[in-house]
Amino acid sequence: MSTKQNKPSVDPVIVVMLGVVFLAVAIAMIVFQPSTNSINISADANVMSQLVVAFVTGITTGGLSCLAVQGGLLASSLAYQIEQDYSAQAKNKKATRTNSAMPIALFLLAKLVAYTLMGALLGWLGSFLTLSPLTRAILMVAIGIFMVGNALRMFNVHPVFRYFSIEPPKFITRYIRRTAKGTDTATPIFLGLLTIFIPCGVTQAMMATALGTGSVLMGAALMFAFTLGTSPVFFVVAYLATELGSKLEKFFMRFVAVVVLILGLVTLDGGLNLMGSPLSLQNLTRGWFAPQTESNTVAESSQPAVVSDEITLNVENNGYFPAVLKAPAGKTLTLNLITNKTYSCARDFVIPDLNVYQLLPESGTVQISIPAQELGSKLFFTCSMGMYTGQIVFEN
């Protein structure tokens, strides 16, 4: 074997794909800036829509990714069972073949239960971690880095990215392997439960997201929706896994990697927004849309009842308007946050630099005091998910 194979090589296709992904994310971020009034992604903030996204992720990339990691395990169990059936048939002509649908269904059901419980546990753990927006931001950045690292691992960009994949302890893999050789009804259930120890890359990313929800119910629901989504693909392809596994794996792993990379970058960007970092993509590109997004000094604001030391921000389902507020430097201001049937995460208003975290009513006005800021400085504000952002620019 040549030494060439030992070195991870980056083929030009991957480089081009990476470029396309970065470009696509950049365009998506710009298009979906709340200030553009374009189709909004507030659906993501909505609980039901988050579950739909999790389900769709499961049924598309998750199922295939799980197939690559866990399909072989189930297939080996089935293969062994079929082998046993044939053996039994050889000895006893009346023996019938076991229907393989039942063990697969049991396996998937057990997997669904296990991952739902895992989601609840992660959500519960997350509730301790999300004590402050900053903690949440750090978690999101860590999750984003983990996801991007995993995507780059799948692209085989550099050996160091292999360490983003968690290797289960030897005793667990040995136990799983040997349990896979059983034939009774309990075996597929056991195997389904044990898959939580060998999650695929997309599943790991979803687990990280469940951790980020900071809610037992949401964590459980998210993992339930995702695992449910993986099930149909898993069920159908499990029959063919033995023959097609390795071929499918090579083809789909790149596709999966692209999706994980996009999700990772979006999560990372959300974390940076929540930190109030000017380096987030949305904050970096905001100036490009100045004519559409900016208002409005205090005097110019179109909002009614504006007095000299007050600035007003409309908090809507698809973001903050105006996204760029101009305010006078050097004086204490009152920021009026106006909601009107606002149900999205825009209600969870955060100004990271001032450590302001305010859950706004669905309709109403909340006032926040902004201490005097230096001339030329900026204060970034965002929702608690890091999705909707804006800034206050302090001028003369």
Binding site: Q5, L73, P159
Partner: protein, 71 residues
């Protein structure tokens, strides 16, 4: 018993390591297999009177991977 390290460059995930470790069950004379996706290698402890390097390489190939004896 002898312990040898084989490089397996075409592992693509941690599950590959688990598949390779199943050599413990498949090959007579093998005491223990420790495969690592992080290092892309397998450390195998086996009875050299029952098993040759070539048989190990062939067994790994049957699992779908390429093994090279580490120097």
């Amino acid at each position: 018993m002898i312990k040898k390290t084989f490089k397996i460059p075409d592992m693509s995930c941690t599950n590959c390591a688990m598949k390779i470790e199943s050599l413990e069950d498949d090959l007579d004379g093998v005491k223990e297999v420790n495969a690592s996706y992080h290092k892309l290698e397998m450390v195998i402890e086996y009875d050299e009177t029952k098993l040759t390097d070539e048989q190990i390489v062939a067994a790994v190939k049957r699992k779908g991977y390429t093994a090279n004896l580490a120097l």
